[in-house]
Symmetry: C2
Subunit: 238 residues, 2 copies
DNA sequence: CACCATTTCAAACGCCTGTTTGAATCATAC
DNA sequence: GTATGATTCAAACAGGCGTTTGAAATGGTG
């Protein structure tokens, strides 16, 4: 029998989690077979089903291992903000920083695997797999609720729909930031120049806050003519 | 023999392309089998290999069918800008609009399948599958080169690396814009409210230009203390 | 009509998938 | 030493995968 004291888990479990995390980033969930995972983790094929029950449960475990900590850190940062502010209104930039700065702090942690995980997480936000999507939605529910609510209160004059969209846009920018600049270099046919990851946070924050503070779009002022030219161009070519 | 009465059903090739496009959006490339594609297209299983050669070739065909037109429209819009400007410098906002406005114009075209395709394209930008990634990079090479070059010339005082990063961030925001607001509603546990897609373009453009015009980040002014608090929080919890 | 290229079709191919099984191994407790 | 539960292991399972095959059906042309 194994008493609660023997928490030092057999390391097989963790080796599998590490291997799966790295392989999922590289080849996606469906593109990564259990045989590749277990071989990479130097474990037996049946070990995944023994320790986790199924491949889907393994995917959940990979996320839960780090996502719980990340979201708790986010909530803690928001708690601290609200405690400091007292009854005063929170600055939107502080709220944004509490959410995205926390994520980038984990992404900058290359030693404990946080960087790998954040690349996986950002790539998974729009995962086609329905099971993964619902799982992520549940994991994010509380954090989203708290941060959107804080932004609603901080920007009472801005329509809530507008705030949700801008938060969505910010998530997209962060997602691509996590993925790295390599794709831009590749698509532009440029050689890849290594970047200092420490510069990513200020770069992204500056961009995010610029977008958040941008004047609200006035539908009447949209430059329609060019829009329609382009539209016709697409139809003509297609 | 098929009399005139029987509907002029689109050719098998096109039915397969349409079915594959829609299914790829929903379940990804690896999650969509040839059997599901051909059944959905009401075609024989062997039809894909007959018409396209392989599943990979089908994926390429799905993209090429619309991506070529999209990128040609983008280049045409940039050509027009440069012709109008003559020797004068281009306004960065115009360049951004030529790139992203064109994409959103296609995304707004729900009747010809442009909307479906743009959702697929935006999700595929960070595809793990190496084959798809390289194919996309090649398809994008010329457009990326032209637009980045235009931005470099329009913003000579801004470091090129900074411009590339911001362009990357903008791509991320657009990618999530294409995916729709549903995920935010789902993650926040809110009911999904249908949105007017016509409002998406001004919303996104306002955000993108706000981000593009944001002051350049000053590394020295990064709010370090909070950053480290959060960082420690993550380590402590993990 | 026959001819011929194009397209469809059912069936099979070999390989890979996630999962299960039952025995072997290990570590600990009595 | 032996009993006990946890873990590993090789082997097999049923089923799905992309692809190939060769014959049947189709449609236009001389």
């Amino acid at each position: 029998m194994c008493p609660v004291a023997c928490m030092p888990q057999p390391e097989t479990r963790d080796r599998i989690l590490d291997a799966a995390e790295a392989l999922f980033v590289e080849h996606g969930f469906e593109g990564t077979s259990m045989r590749v995972i277990t071989r990479s983790a130097q474990a037996n094929l049946a070990a995944v089903n023994y320790h986790f029950g199924s491949k889907d449960a393994l995917i959940q475990a990979v996320f839960r291992r780090r996502l719980t900590a990340l979201n708790e850190a986010r909530l803690a940062a928001l708690d601290q903000l609200e405690a400091q502010a007292g009854d005063a209104a929170l600055k939107p930039s502080r709220i944004v920083f509490a959410f995205f700065g926390t994520a980038l702090a984990m992404a900058a942690d290359t030693e404990h695997g946080g960087a790998t995980f954040m690349r996986l997480l950002s790539r998974t936000y729009n995962e086609p797999n329905a099971f993964v999507r619902q799982f992520l939605a549940e994991e994010y529910a509380e954090v989203m609720d708290r941060f959107l609510g804080a932004l609603f209160r901080a920007l009472p004059e801005v329509p809530r729909t507008e705030i949700m969209w801008r938060f969505h846009f910010m998530m997209g920018a962060m997602s691509f930031a996590m993925a790295g600049i390599e794709s831009v270099h590749a698509m532009a046919g440029l050689p890849y120049e290594d970047e200092d990851p420490a510069r990513l946070l200020p770069r992204l924050m500056s961009f995010l806050l610029g977008g958040l503070r941008a004047p609200l779009a006035d539908l009447a002022e949209t430059p329609r003519p060019m829009m329609f030219d382009v539209h016709d161009g697409i139809h003509g070519a297609g």
